[in-house]
Amino acid sequence: MIVVTVGTQLPFDRLVGAMDALAPTLSRPVFAQIGTGGYQPLHMDWKASVPAREFDTLLQSADAIVSHAGTGTILLAQKLHKPVVIMARRAAQGEHRNDHQVATAAQMVGRSGIYVADDETGLAEALHRALTVPYVPDSPGDRTRIKDAIRHFLAG
C-alpha cells in the first residue's frame, strides 16, 4: 500500500490531486490523509484526518509514504524504516505561510530512503524510485550531541 499524507492542518490539493491522478497507474492500493483540502480523491481511499494510532498502523503497512515536506512524517518514516517521497508546500501557491518546506526538501535531497519531488511532474519518478530502490536506513546524524547539550542545560 502507498500512504499519502499532507498532515492534518493545511490543505495541499496539488499533492493530493497529483497522487489521485497517479493512483490508477500504480499496482497497489493508495490511501490519502488529505487534511483540510477541498479536492476529494476519486481513485484512492481517503480521509480528512486519521487518529494518531490508526495512522501509525497504516504507515506500518505502507510500502512507501508520499508526504508534504513536513518533519513529522520524515521522522516517522525514518523510525518505521519506510521510504518516503516528499513534495514541498509553496507559499506562492498559498500552501503554507512561507517556503520553509522548500528549504527542508532541499536539505533532504540525497538522503537514504528520502525521495524529493520538486513538483507534481516529478512525483511519479520519485515514487517509482521509492518503491524499487532497496531501503537502506538513513544513518541519523549523531543525536548524542544535541541530547547532551540539552541534558547539560537541564542540569543547570
Binding site: A52, H100, I150, L154, G156
Partner: protein, 148 residues
C-alpha cells in the same frame, strides 16, 4: 532532576520532542501539546492539551496564551523546554515570568531562517538552539547538533 515542562505543537514539533524522551523522562517531567491523542499514543499520561493557535488566529492565540500561563502558574517548573511552535513559545514566556530557566529548540524544519517564535526566543529564552549550523550566530542561537 528539576521539574520540567516540555511543550510542543502536534505534528513535526511533537515528533522532535519525542526524540528527546530519554533526555526528559522522569517523574518530574510534564508534557503539553495541542493534539489530544498524541500523548496517549506515546504512552504519556497526565499530559496537558493546550488550544492550538497560530498568528492568523488572534482569538485562539489569546486562549492559548492564557492556558499556557495557567499551566506554568500551576506547575511552577524549574525548566520550560519547547520544540515549537507558538503554544510552546507562550509557555516559555510564562516560564520566564515565573522564574523558570527556558530552552527553545528550533525545529529542523526551519533550515533557512528561524521561525517567528524562534527569532523571539533568541531574545526571550535563556537558550535558543538551532539544528542547522548555518543558523547559529555569535551571541545568538547556538548549534549543538541536530535530531535529524
Amino acid at each position: 532532576m528539576p521539574g520540567i515542562l516540555a511543550v510542543s505543537s502536534g505534528g513535526g514539533h511533537w515528533e522532535e520532542l519525542m526524540l528527546l524522551r530519554d533526555v526528559l523522562d522522569g517523574p518530574d517531567v510534564h508534557f503539553a501539546t495541542t493534539v489530544a491523542d498524541l500523548p496517549e499514543r506515546a504512552g504519556i499520561v497526565n499530559a496537558t492539551i493546550l488550544p492550538d493557535c497560530n498568528r492568523d488566529k488572534p482569538l485562539s492565540s489569546l486562549r492559548c496564551l492564557i492556558a499556557a500561563f495557567r499551566l506554568v502558574q500551576r506547575l511552577r517548573p524549574d525548566v520550560v523546554l519547547s520544540t515549537g511552535a507558538a503554544p510552546g513559545f507562550f509557555c516559555i514566556v510564562a516560564g520566564k515570568l515565573f522564574g523558570a530557566r527556558t530552552l527553545w529548540v528550533e525545529s529542523f524544519a526551519n533550515a533557512e531562517e528561524l521561525s517567528l517564535c524562534g527569532k523571539l526566543s533568541v531574545k526571550i529564552a535563556d537558550r535558543c538552539m538551532v539544528q542547522w549550523e548555518h543558523l547559529a550566530r555569535p551571541g545568538g542561537p547556538v548549534f549543538e547538533g541536530s535530531l535529524l
